[in-house]
Assembly symmetry: D3
Homo-oligomer: 276 residues x 6
């Protein structure tokens, strides 16, 4: 389900609108295929369970519209269901297992390779998918000899001047960042009457972090009563719009760079004794 | 990706627009959750590879709009990628393996059960998924104690007076039926200059059939050069619209019946000696 | 365990009585190998749990004896245990999981291919196996490049004038049809003192069916107290014998047709524009 | 497929001739269920590929007939296909993978447990199954809390005075032992014109053995041109009959012992300090 | 294989030197069990293939010796073989698949839980394991209700003033950092005559990075001829010793913190409306 | 963790101390790679849970030091965790599942094959691993075309004159044999104050044995209260040293024989009619 759908410019870049004959005849070199991967999972009392998938769809389609016409970049239907086992059991969370999600991505990649494509971008909007997608990317690289890229649009920043530092670091689920974006792209789906703020306090820990170098595995219920990490009470649609514009400006450039990247671009000869 | 998206009436019935709190508070009895399952696969030179998933989305959303407001029926995001190994290798076919698709459906069902739902309809628009989904339905029934229904809208008819008998029987992939519907719902995605007609001839076989009681397993390339079975040259948007209206009229009634069904409705006492 | 075993004519067609050297030298073209697949599962208080496997053995061997000597048709030992999870927990039900049964059939097919055979018929006598076997057939077609056929002898009819229409439709497990056949082929294994009649009532449902287009997944315990669907009280050995004769007459013809079938027989050239 | 079938006395002990009601009412304590596991695999140019499964059926049924009526011992249909990957590729070998065979046995055991049985004997007639069945036995013991026994009738001897010592040690496949038995139980299935003798020479190895303590993994083709290990040219039906009588005399006693065994029979108290 | 083994002080903290009775009686609260996970993989022409596992063993044992006696911290034998598929095919690389390594860690964790332990640290010294271990950590958290920590000692720094910034960023495999440490702990295993320097040049990429936010999946052979990333020619044992001292000083503190951590330490009450 | 580690002579034969370049240049013919496989599991109140892995390390390294310099024999790091499900739940038992251990061994073998090695010895010191390793050996032989050997040092004897016959037969876990060896190689790890003697009594069984031809699957708790089978109270370090010397004398010869073995050494031509 892509928001901003009917008649939008990005539809030109939507791969499955083409017929098999058209896809066969597409140039495949310097061509990037984008697979959005999201999640359907609880996001507190105020955000829709589709938040991650929704943001992914809105972001990637807006970025595509900023591409120049000659860019060879194609979009696939999203994998709407991700790995959300850290939220499993909370109503509305619909999660694939790690094994299942891995298989889904592997199968799609293999099919793309059989169709002649070589470059795949996993465009991920759910933090709980990240590690698994990195594992899968390497598997695809090795098993199907494809070039596989990974990025999460939220890692591109865009909110540095809009939120306090603490919120930027710990507002990782249902906080100001996500709530602002959903207010911007689908305001009717935010329940303003139930906005909440909750963040675990890591100040007592000298080394341990939520997502840093020394980390621990958590279920959301381990670290939050409300199901969120962050402060949704400060979210505004205006902030969300600014973030989306900034992020998609960058993404348009990124998509171009990835479509043209080859390993030969970065290879340097060993300086000495590099026999093996 | 749902066609007919923005602001449409069915959006009210789109489950993941709700928050976790809202889903928790939904009544669960006499409540049906619908999971569309489609496919991205070659459909000949003239139809988009998204044909099956596209038809599924258009059909289920139109049917939802015909429901009375008090019906307890909810829609999930589609499983856009199906099992299309019979088309694998033909450009644009993106197939999950049987094992992967099974795991996807099982995981979604388990999550729904954990969210409190009891009734699931697998709404399938790709013939290649049918047998697997029937296997999976029983697994869900047993493992997660849910009521699982299955239907394919194309089995509901609606074209009996619009196409010759042969086309109704053998036009199973990319023929008049599917091409007419896509012309009706997404005309810009049909390549009229490449319409084709091809149907295998079973007349030499006394018993063997394509999909009947005595059957054989085929890859599409075994039975067709063009990748289709049927006659796309006779397709019209008008026929497609008629079919869609007829099918969705029925579906609205069906959804209602399924949401209210309980096993107790059909149990009869054994007449004699039913000890065990 | 084949009934009608010792010295019977069909033993000539029993593949594993041959040595490796003999099998190596067999002609492989236009040669059909038959794998019976049955089930060991509860069939109510009156029928043996071996009913499905027993009927399969009796039927296939009788049909083989009706073949002309020059037919190239070979029989394998049966897969006696099927997928009977809809009866699991009821005493005497011995079920393989879906995954296990799939692996069994795939492994046997791969071995046959390595032995030089190309055509395999899955001869199934348990309804609960059907969907899975259809999935597997396609996997074998694709992975091992074999021609795989499927049939269930009960689908060939033969009882139309012997039972009421309702029994023909709903007598799917342990009813008149199966009980009559077991009475004909192995009378000592039917417990006449516990014959039973029980059929779920679908009349309250406008659309929903047990095994039709709009269906639901059931465990036998969901729809029957006695463990059967049908009316065993009307069964007679005479009816069973008539059915067996009729069905095996057809099967002898079918085996011949399948052994000679090639995809080239049904291919027609596309009429127009069939480029891809 | 059981040889010696029709009307034989052992049929009384054939579990699946019973109905679900009868099985429910069976006493379960001190009750042994026997599952024959065999193989369909090349046995040289002279023996049928069914040799192992055939010997298993003949042996177990003969032994059952020697039991006293009050013994609580029941027979299941055989698992006819075993793990024969050491012969894979040689015509007529039909092998399950290790994983598949393991799953088959596990599923059957679980079903038996659900039916109320506690004691299972894996009655194996193919050496290539042995290690796997031992692994599986322990899995069943632990996962399903059953008492699982294992034996291979060929390990019970019976031929010590009938064959030279070398043949007793190395005649492990298709040699005098197996050929004599098949001549005794199914003479028409032995191809006398192609009897062969071939045994690998281990005399150059001080430590290494075929199946002893210091061993190596082999495919049959690694150690034999003809596909056998042993001397089939000396086989006679008379020797086969003697072996069968001796082995089944022992088996009848063994079945009785196993049906009555409980762990409590062998537990001794630790003599000192056995705290844990 | 732990270097610095015989009679060393850390041996006191080596869990499997204890008997079952001793382990049963250990206090389990505030107790940390450490599982080192390494790799056996090519590290260029100059470093042993055991580099990662070797560094892990040396580092963890040295850190344990810096703990105060009352710390409840126990060491397990290492998982010496990791996931090194990015080096597979290069001599000396011995890699587990992602699935296998995941199963190994899951099984060990489950056994620990059954033994009464609650806190596990995955102490990882191979970058190629990181993503997978993060996935596994969450699985263990959810499936076995354990507290699972993750860290890689190389992420703790210690070389900031010893190497140029470029080497700190790109010297990720077989460069100055690892070569210096191996020179310090096992000098005889470094082949000084084959030291090499090779680093891919990412300067042409505006966004793409080796291991950053926008990344691509690589096999080592994609980015390096010599099999390393970094400059081994500048490595010295002196630098290695300094790094090891610094890192293990930190680790001793970290182990203490992790052994005492509980979720309750970081939970804050939601500030507003946190109903769910 | 290898005992007797630092600077020991066997370190020369420790494969992963070599660099990838060195391993590439090693001769591979007549070259044996040894993989020790052990277990971490309860061994009664007196022996460390590392007993099996510890004995394996001590034995293989001592044997390697008795090899002549020109022997082409290399040692791998051990697989320290084995399949110990028969002890699972008893504190300190850390077990891999059968599937996991199989995958570990398969993956290591495949990597060795990719590195150019052809001969692998599975050097096993835990009885619970034996059957599985035999299954795996054959899988490796077939899938990776390697020569795979198996042995358990305890099967080589060496204690015949040191213990009573009963102890030699039934002292299979934590008895005199194992306790004596651990006393010899790691005396500080034996808890002398808790030595125990316990052996199940099989005298009431005419046929059934613990590990013989007619066997049953057991958990240790089925047959022993103390967790051991045997008499640890008679163990002495002196006996342990004698056993170790005897066993390693043999092993040095065995390693040599295995490194030089080829299938061609044992092939004899069939004497008659060996066509196939």
């Amino acid at each position: 389900m892509f928001t901003r759908y009917e008649g939008a410019a990005w539809e030109e870049r939507f791969l499955p609108r083409l017929t098999s004959k058209q896809i066969k005849e597409l140039p495949k070199e310097s061509t990037l295929v984008i697979l959005p991967v999201g999640a359907i999972e609880q996001h507190g009392p105020h955000l829709p369970v589709m938040t991650d998938t929704l943001i992914g769809e809105a972001t990637v389609t807006l970025a595509l519209e900023k591409l120049k016409p000659d860019a060879r970049v194609w979009l696939l239907p999203p994998v709407s269901y991700g790995k959300s086992n850290e939220h499993l059991g909370l109503p509305g969370t619909i999660s694939l297992s790690a094994t299942t999600l891995q298989s889904v991505i592997m199968d799609i990649a293999e099919s793309l390779r059989l169709s002649g494509f070589h470059k795949l971008l996993l465009f991920n909007t759910h933090g709980g998918n990240t590690d698994l997608l990195n594992v899968v990317s390497r598997e695809i690289r090795i098993r199907h000899d494809m070039l596989v890229f990974y990025l999460s649009p939220s890692s591109l920043g865009g909110a540095e001047d809009l939120m306090p530092a603490d919120e930027l670091e710990y507002g990782i689920h249902g906080g100001d960042y996500e709530t602002s974006i959903v207010k911007a792209i689908k305001p009717g789906w935010v329940q303003d009457q139930w906005l909440v703020s909750e963040t675990p306090s890591m100040t007592g820990q000298k080394f341990l972090t939520l997502e840093g170098k020394i980390r621990f595995a958590w279920r959301m219920a381990d670290i939050s009563d409300s199901g969120i990490c962050g402060d949704a009470t400060q979210a505004t649609a205006a902030k969300g719009s600014i973030i989306q514009e900034r992020v998609t400006d960058i993404l348009a450039e990124v998509f171009r760079e990835l479509s043209e990247f080859e390993f030969g671009d970065i290879r340097a000869k060993a300086e000495a004794g590099a026999e093996r």
